[in-house]
Amino acid sequence: MHSQTPSLLQRAQTWINSSLFNTNRAGEYFEYLLEGVDPMWSALECKARIMEVRDETADTKTWVLQPVKNWGGFVAGQHIHITLSVNGVQSTRTFTISSSPYQWQQNGTITITVKRVPNGRVTGWMHDTLKTGAVVTISQAQGEFVLDKDVDAPVGYIAAGSGITPIMSQLRWMSANNMPVPANLLYFANTQKDFIFGSEIKALAQAARRFTGNLIASYDDSDSKHKLPQSPICAEHIQALLESKPEQIYLCGPHPFREIAKQLLAEAGYNLKQVREEAFGLPPIKVEAGAPVKVSFAASAVETTTDQPGTLLDMAEGAGLTPTAGCRMGICHTCKCKKTSGQVRNVITGELSSTEAEDIRICVSTPVSNVEIDI
């Protein structure tokens, strides 16, 4: 992190920038100017242009993005933050790259595959409005959900719904690489029609001897109420997967699904240390029984009291305030605000803050006592 004290030179530079441009980063002064000349230009960020939009399933689409030349590339399984302007509101969301790194090397494009979240403000807008030619801002790729370079033992994959996207990137990469290691996939979805990349996975399973793909639907296609006998994930599935003796298991899907899968793996005697998870969004916040807490947003003179506190960001927005936020998952630090009193819990790590005044990220903080925040 950048917590070392800045050198004298850096401080002088910041001072001069703020004198001349009224902002600590000179680039910020020119940002809208550059954007006005060419939306792909930026002094501060990486831009990407939408080259194509494809339908995958009824509620899932793939966007082909061409990032600017100096974007740093990625490893199969990593994700990016995308910032877009949704009806004027700048919104950041995290998506896995679903394409293979080969594609990026060959023609400089990557893809993201996104399911429409019911009532989702951003995914809904993307599905309806984000068309070919539009320009979005992207972060560098990040994430640990990647293949280890020096391991040549079999790998196992467990995915549900749109959790297939980082795995697809890996499978595509491995298939282009002649399947360097044996791979087994368990992929769960509601109906046959909901398997994203379903036909590609089937084709790959036929073509590549070292790859086995199981597509397991919970419901019959014709009647979404008719539950199929083999659904959803259960001990037999896990057993079958473990027979291939995977060195590493990659698990991606909704939080409750991952919890069940991990429990089954543990029961089957698999070492959970060998499981790698990809999790987006925050885990559900555990509500602690007790007295209601009072949150005061001091700068706006707004106060709320609740015995079911969510994140402070949600609470502030619920109270009609508009603090700046980006990723909403504790990564980008856009939402940092000064807490002047009280104690909060980090909903990701469970860590408790001090009771002193300090900067906190309100998107991942939930109050455990009465708190006062400078918003």
Partner: protein, 378 residues
């Protein structure tokens, strides 16, 4: 929910209201205040729900134009060797400073674009090209002035603690020269605004001592030094042998901005018809009464689109005071609706062309430099 009924009052005539004073002001009934609140709240909600990409694009565009003008202005001042391009450069730089202060800074710092979640146009981060630092301005203007608008003794924008503008403020012999103070305040307006939070008048009468003002003073020197460095050291020094020319150009651009900004701001609350209030009458004020005070204490300027943009839409001072955090580019469409509501309640909607309104400001400053002030209707 009761919708407001048409108030049954005789039409106000100019004579019936002693403008600028506290008597004869038409007050509304409790129900009417409630009706007024509902109508204004509804108007605000309607516009707020409609905010979107177009508003953000508008502001980005304005910022872009401001940047182009600043770059062009500084370049022209630098490389001009005859008066015409030099003056063009001064004009461009001055206009860029006006846009930065009025249409961009003032509005962004009111939080009008906070909903857009763009850190570059968020009130939390924005800093502007003037001596007053953003934090101080948000305290004195956003909080003090917008909460206590025109309450004498609480709204320190009312007369800026140097001007007597109503009979509520006692006359002293020093007030005889207030036209001179007024001129000085206009010329050095950016420094006047920066010094506002010092509350020198309260310092003098011993309400508090200088120690309490330490954090503010730090901010003042920090920001003031940056402004001086930019306009009077850095850019002149870049020009080497033409140091004095660039310095003069920058000073002229600042002067232009100061005169314009002060004129616009004085027109907002000090016109002849804008009313003042006492602390007592504003005690336990309801939201409806707050709207009423904002309405009666403010005055608009009628004019072209250019006037609206260059004044940061403070030509819609009334709308701005009723809805300070609605993006200013929406005031134009709200104006007729506000005027309609005013008419319904028999309330004045104070507006007029710039020169007329500014004339009444000058008249008022002059009039109250005499002990008789408002009593003597000229």
């Amino acid at each position: 929910m009761t919708t407001a009924t048409q108030p049954n009052v005789e039409q106000l005539t100019e004579e019936k209201v002693q403008f600028g004073g506290l008597d004869g002001r038409r007050r509304l009934t409790k129900e009417q205040y409630e009706g007024l609140q509902q109508e204004f709240d509804a108007l605000r909600d309607e516009i707020r729900a409609d905010l979107g990409q177009a508003d953000v694009d508008y502001m980005k565009n304005i910022i872009r134009i401001q940047r182009y003008l600043e770059v062009a202005g500084r370049t022209l001042i630098h490389f001009s060797f005859t008066p015409v391009p030099f003056m063009l450069g001064v004009a461009a730089l001055s206009v860029s400073k006006i846009m930065d202060n009025m249409e961009i800074g003032h509005n962004v710092m009111h939080g009008q674009f906070d909903w857009a979640n763009d850190p570059k146009m968020h009130s939390k981060n924005f800093e502007w090209d003037t001596a007053c630092d953003a934090g101080s301005w948000k305290r004195t203007h956003n909080f003090e002035h917008h909460t206590f608008t025109n309450i004498i003794g609480k709204d320190r924008d009312y007369g800026y603690a140097v001007l007597r503008l109503s009979d509520e403020t006692p006359w002293t012999p020093m007030r005889s020269f207030q036209t001179v103070y007024f001129a000085l305040l206009s010329i050095f307006f950016q420094w006047g605004v920066a010094l506002h939070e010092l509350e020198s008048e309260r310092l003098r009468d011993g309400t508090f001592d200088l120690d309490e003002k330490k954090p503010y003073l730090k901010g003042l020197f920090r920001k003031g030094a940056k402004q001086v460095f930019k306009d009077y050291i850095f850019f002149p020094a870049l020009a080497g042998p033409f140091f004095w020319k660039v310095m003069l150009g920058n000073a002229m651009a600042n002067l232009g901005r100061n005169l314009w900004a002060s004129a616009i701001i004085f027109c907002g609350h000090f016109t002849e018809q804008a009313q003042a209030f006492t602390e007592e009458e504003c005690e336990n004020e309801t939201k409806g009464e707050w709207y009423y005070r904002q309405l009666l204490g403010s005055s608009n300027l009628s004019g072209s689109k250019l006037l609206h943009v260059m004044s940061g839409h403070l030509s819609y001072q009334i709308e701005h005071h009723l809805f300070p955090d609605i993006p200013a580019n929406r005031y134009e469409e709200m104006g007729p609706k506000v005027e309609e509501i005013c008419a319904k309640y028999g309330l004045p909607y104070n507006t007029g062309p710039f020169w007329h309104q500014y004339g009444t400001v000058l008249k008022r400053v002059w009039k109250y430099s005499f002990p008789t002030g408002g009593q003597e209707r000229s």
